[in-house]
Symmetry: C2
Subunit: 190 residues, 2 copies
Amino acid sequence: MRTSVPLAHAYRLLNHGPTTLVTTAHGGRRNVMAAAWVMPLDFEPPKFAAVVAADTFTRELLDAAGECVLQVPTTEQLQLTYDCGSRSGRDGDKFTALGIGTSAASLVAAPLVDGCAAWLECRVLAEPDLATRHDLFVLECVAAWADDRWWHNGEWQFAPAGPRSLHHLKGGVFFATGERLAAARPRRSS
Amino acid sequence: MRTSVPLAHAYRLLNHGPTTLVTTAHGGRRNVMAAAWVMPLDFEPPKFAAVVAADTFTRELLDAAGECVLQVPTTEQLQLTYDCGSRSGRDGDKFTALGIGTSAASLVAAPLVDGCAAWLECRVLAEPDLATRHDLFVLECVAAWADDRWWHNGEWQFAPAGPRSLHHLKGGVFFATGERLAAARPRRSS
């Protein structure tokens, strides 16, 4: 079930470096792409940095709308994630072609991809040189959600054999998020 | 054993979103910090984006030297990674305090932390507004290395029960990099 995540905790949704799906919508058109180059940039208000290449349909919609949703797909969405990253929305609506269900976001026009582990509704902050020079966008997260099957007490708690987030290596090869490891309290001397 | 990684493959060292250690050195002083907010930004020449907070000793050395090394610590370095992120080099040399062994880099003054899975020697590209506004640095990787125990044929190949890279969730809680999952060739229609 989708549960609201306090904005102060939004960075934790992406802090472990998962691959994302980025949805956009503008003027009756919509798109979804896979993006591994997304990371937190600030805690509160929560900001994120995302690379969106200049020649993509997502870039066109992102520039026009100034909004997007970052989502965290799971291992159940491995093929969907790779397929999203392997075709262009200019060749036809990917949601229809790939049978991707969506729900309405709360504050932005871009849709939420059903079945993901988290959703971050974002607005583009004006940084024009960054996009021109590095295809890099600074996003402010204005609403955040997670599926409470995997998000409890302000952190990811994936079951050992259940779905978990994805980390892209290259060309359709991903790593699942692995086991949880807790360090001891910091050593203060050697 | 440390093996050279072609620069065209350097992005793959961080594409799966692992937590990094950032080393810096300038004028006889050196430091190491943990940084989860690091990601690839371009393929070739390989560029990376990294967040380094304004009040850190690493920031002081990075601004002065214009160079750093990004490394990928392993699960064997869980405590070291957390400890590095939980104290300041201004309070004493962390390498000495934490017993961290180092080797010389090839092109930059910052040291390589022994025992890591990968090392990316980087130079800061001039983007002054970015650092001021977002604590964000654009780095060009000028030399890349990986330990051939875990890096073969241009990709990470962690053994099922062996050391692997780390992904920070929050406050000393990490995920290990999990199992490898390969998607099928992209579906071209639904």
